[in-house]
Amino acid sequence: MNAIEIKGLCKSFKEFEIDNVDLTLPGGCVVGLVGENGAGKSTTIKLILNMIFKDSGSIRVLGKDNVTELDSVKEEIGVVFDESYFPPSLTPVKLGNIMKHIYRNWDMQRYQDYLQQFSLPEKRPIGKLSRGMKMKLAITVAMSHHAKLLILDEATSGLDPVVRDDVIDILTDFTREEDHSILISSHIVSDLEKLCDYIAFMHKGKMMLFEEKDRLYEQYGVIHCTEKELQSIPSDAVIGKKIGSYGAEAIALRSAVPHGITVYPVDIEKLFIFMIRERE
């Protein structure tokens, strides 16, 4: 079963729109939603959670319609936003006392284990925790009620590289169970590269590309060549290019690159940047 299934999602605002977005998060997989600031990642997540109402299209979460049946699966969803939403005056212990009444499947033992594992001070007010600690706490809460689906919106932004790496490790552990899925949005592509099975590129409210990460590596490569050599490659095989006085750098379909031009492995961040530049 797909953890999330979005078809033809549309939502219009005054100066922005989500335009016909399709996205599938297969069960047991991790999808990274990549896009620049304002690309529509957070809006898409809010649409999935029915915090904003869609204009058209369909969204199914854990097999249920997100408008009429979402309440029935919220027990199985853990959500982490980019900023802290827990009352700053509460301590993690008090927060646990509250959450055990909110989630039927709340596992206090697991919560306490996570607090210890992540070295979170149990009796320090949340307002006095560092940003990294607050994020770990949010993830702890999201994982302490046996959620099957985690939805994280810019959960790693604003964190230092060490904490980001910790967070990625926590999430990797979460995905060890077969039926656990994650949808994570970020503009820090390197984080997603470590974690994700699928990559979805969003740009100006549109889904530019949705592909398995390994297939992206297999299909695309970076080439450094002259402008003339670049012209010998069919234009529809070139995802993006940068031409300077030193020559040309491009990302192209490996299969379309002529012999004699060396193809280097592509990283997702570069692919994303080139793609956006080409569109603009």
């Binding site: 915090m51 904003i52 009352p87 509460l90 509250i98 009444h101 909110i102 989630y103």
Partner: protein, 224 residues
Amino acid sequence: MKGLLLRDGYLLRQRPVLLMLVGFVGIVLLFSFITTDEETTVANTWPFSAMISLFTTGFSLLLLYEDEQNKWLNYCKTTPVRDAVYVLEKYLMALIFSVFFGLILTVLPLVVMLRQDAFAWADFWLSLVIPIGMSFLCVSLMYPLTFRFGTSKGFLCFLVIFVLLAVGVFVGGLAADFSNGGKVWKFLTALENGKKALYGILIAAGLFGLSLPISIGCFRKRQF
């Protein structure tokens, strides 16, 4: 529900300054009652009732405001907390505030009545139902707007409606005076004099109850 109540309970415990403020105002009111030379009747406590009802409204609004500011409200929308339960919990808190502040206010007329050696249950109930009724009315007006538009816009809308109502009552009162006392004006006067206090509290409670499903509907239409 219990989780939300706990959360609000923790929040209020962390704001002792607000409770101290209420205590301070209570002491000032008590002092003014004890030291006044003028004979004070129970019905004359209505300005204090208005003040207490504003406290109730203010405290209820504060809880919602904190939820919005901390993004706790957004978070709640992602949890199994149903919209109706969230709204119901806020109504329950408003009810608790109304009764709590109403009881505080009964201390004042109680002192007056005891000083005058004229304690009467009817007067005591009147002093209790006026603030509670006024609190109910304020909350009934404010909550649907706040749940629909958020605390800032909702409070502004509430103020506009409150002023319009006050102007309406004033104009209506003037018109009634000119026409030698209309039915509405007579009813309001009877309320003030405690002759129809039960009707007043029933109307207020009815509006309070009626505004609950309206607030739930408004909250469901709200986008975050």
